[in-house]
Symmetry: C2
């Protein structure tokens, strides 16, 4: 046993494992792809929720970054990140926390898609005596929030920000639908949808005499597929740092790229049913069933041995709160190994964001061969 | 505004709210039902994961209690609970932590359903010089773990424990299938299935000359429905402390009994689609879709106003990580209120265990009228 094996054997299960070498490979791949096109990458830190991971994702530790909660903004600003977009629609009651972070020297910008929000940001900017920068969210694919393409409210919102006390920082869009569609070519087409919506909106704002310095697009699938970034100033992506079975299922990565797994122990069997029962139930995996509608439904996760090698045919077919039930996939005719009581396994998760959220720390298998495991704390909350 | 309203208005969203009055009513109802039959109630603390809640659920703060993780056992033992069943199949590597808790004066017992586990517990008991008490898990309804009714391995396991250095504490079963079935009469029938399996196994053990002091059954639906407890020494239930939409959907409670909700803020709209977008996505609600197969699918939750009154017709129809999408139920023809930016709502969760797990604390609305809100920390992990 190497030192790593010894330490891994000491970790109580269930536990969240992070393969540093795979993570680094994932980080470098997208940085090279986007950087190679002369455009800035603004990693989304909502999956990581860890300063240790953030330091490895951000070029020099100061940003740029994207976050999904003000808690993330607060932690990463404290760590020294100086350029953050809070990429969830702002509400008036959250502007106090935004202003407090800006006062501390973090250039935090907010997102909005309505006149009411723009008025609230302009009013807060006037009241607080500082121009809060805001990006206008665009709905490029009907996924959730954002101004629809061609909606004249875009210019109205821009004007309220620019002519009021706020700052019109730019436009932002996210092809959330890309998570439901498979294949690099489809993702490239969706990236072009993002680009066209964002660049078109930027042109509309500029034609109206308004500034639009930032043109921000991105999602993990589209960021990896995109070729043409004309007019775009930055690309965002988040789950690519770890990847997961959903991303593998839609062709945004290979299964071997998945850097995150759940270490679990076999606690029992129902021999007649072919069930192996583990201590990684849905509390350990999350309730996310993101592959349910995929060509290959991965249940609650793909089963690997303790070293991380997938075991052919096995998935977690069912989960109770603290019980995972492993069995052969429907129709699988191959051999299934004996997994006696106490066997330790790793489960690849459907959705890294959801699974990681169930844990207070990553147990990190370091890139350096034989180096001892590291523990990187992670946080949650809002 | 009362003091409570003022404090509630200050809580940043999303946040987990706990209605103390409803919780107390839920606790008292089951205590009266089970206690009225002269049988001990052993509350399951896996949903609560809070010492503040535990002190209100446990008769005198010392137990008895059930837990689903050793982390729970450790926290509650530290709080003073002296009688705990760890109700998930034990593995050899966890016995060190079990013994450490027993050394500190907590009568922690473990659960098992195999010869291999019984041997491991007997060996650890011999090695550590203390008899670790174990209950044999019975599979009364094919739900997951447990010895099947009539399987002769029951006596074999009992003998290994009793004749080895361990302690045969009794038998335990849980009608997990009751969560999938609707109606008090059905739950009562399942309670009888639990009782018959447990009492039958206890008789088998005793007939073989083995002790079986504890005969433990229960689940929230069966515990509320059960009438005949002959031969049973204790009843377990957990989620009843808070209840949720799954329990309401199967008729184990009324929707008005649900003590837990998620406070959220409207962050935007897609008017043409009839969508109201909030800051309570699946990170705030969990990915649990436990009502998906019910007669009434509640989406990601039932929408209430800030005071907790359900708004007819509205559910959370879709959830992204930090975005909840509220819309009218399919087929709903009634009026839907205008919910402008900044409106605060409460969402009733599908599954209290899963939703509560997304939070580090409960914001408690105290029973006492006008009293200020309390904050009760909660923990996670294993």
């Amino acid at each position: 046993m190497t030192v790593q094996d010894q330490r891994l054997a000491e970790v109580q299960t269930p536990a969240l494992l992070l393969d540093e070498a795979k993570m680094t490979r994932n980080i470098d791949r997208l940085a090279a792809h986007v950087g190679g096109k002369g455009v800035m990458l603004r990693p989304h830190l909502k999956t990581a929720k860890s300063t240790d991971v953030a330091r490895r994702v951000l070029t020099d530790g100061t940003g740029p970054a994207t976050v999904s909660t003000l808690a993330e903004a607060e932690v990463f600003a404290e760590m020294g990140v100086r350029d953050i977009i809070y990429a969830v629609g702002i509400t008036p009651d959250k502007l106090g926390r935004v202003a407090a972070l800006r006062d501390k020297g973090c250039d935090l910008s907010v997102l909005l898609d309505s006149v009411a929000q723009a008025q609230a940001v302009a009013e807060a900017s006037a009241r607080l005596g500082q121009a809060i920068p805001a990006l206008i969210e665009l709905d490029c694919d009907g996924h959730r929030s954002g101004v629809a393409p061609g909606d004249p409210v875009l210019v109205e919102i821009g004007r309220i920000l620019h002519e009021g006390a706020a700052e019109l920082r730019g436009v932002l869009t996210h092809a959330g639908e890309s998570y439901e569609m498979t294949g690099r070519d489809v993702h490239r087409a969706l990236a072009e949808v993002e680009r066209a919506a964002a660049v078109g909106a930027a042109e509309t704002l500029r034609a109206a005499g308004l500034p639009c310095p930032v043109v921000s697009i991105g999602s993990t699938p589209t960021a990896h597929a995109i070729e043409d970034l004309t007019g775009v100033t930055e690309v965002r992506a988040g789950v690519y740092v770890f990847f997961d079975l959903v991303q593998a299922g839609i062709g945004a990565c290979q299964q071997d790229d998945i850097a995150l797994s759940v270490l679990t122990t076999v606690i029992g069997h129902q021999q007649q049913k072919g069930w192996v029962i583990t201590d990684a139930g849905w509390m350990a995996m999350s309730r996310d069933r993101g592959t349910a509608a995929h060509a290959v439904d991965q249940g609650y996760g793909v089963v690997c041995d303790e070293a991380g090698q997938p075991i052919p045919g096995l998935t977690v077919i069912k989960a109770n709160q603290e019980h995972g039930i492993i069995a052969a996939r429907e129709g699988y005719e191959g051999e299934v190994p004996d997994l006696p009581l106490g066997t330790r396994l790793r489960i690849l998760p459907n959705h890294a964001c959801a699974t990681a959220a169930q844990y207070g720390a990553y147990h990190v298998i370091p890139s350096a061969p034989g180096a001892p495991l590291l523990t990187w704390p992670r946080f949650g909350g809002w």
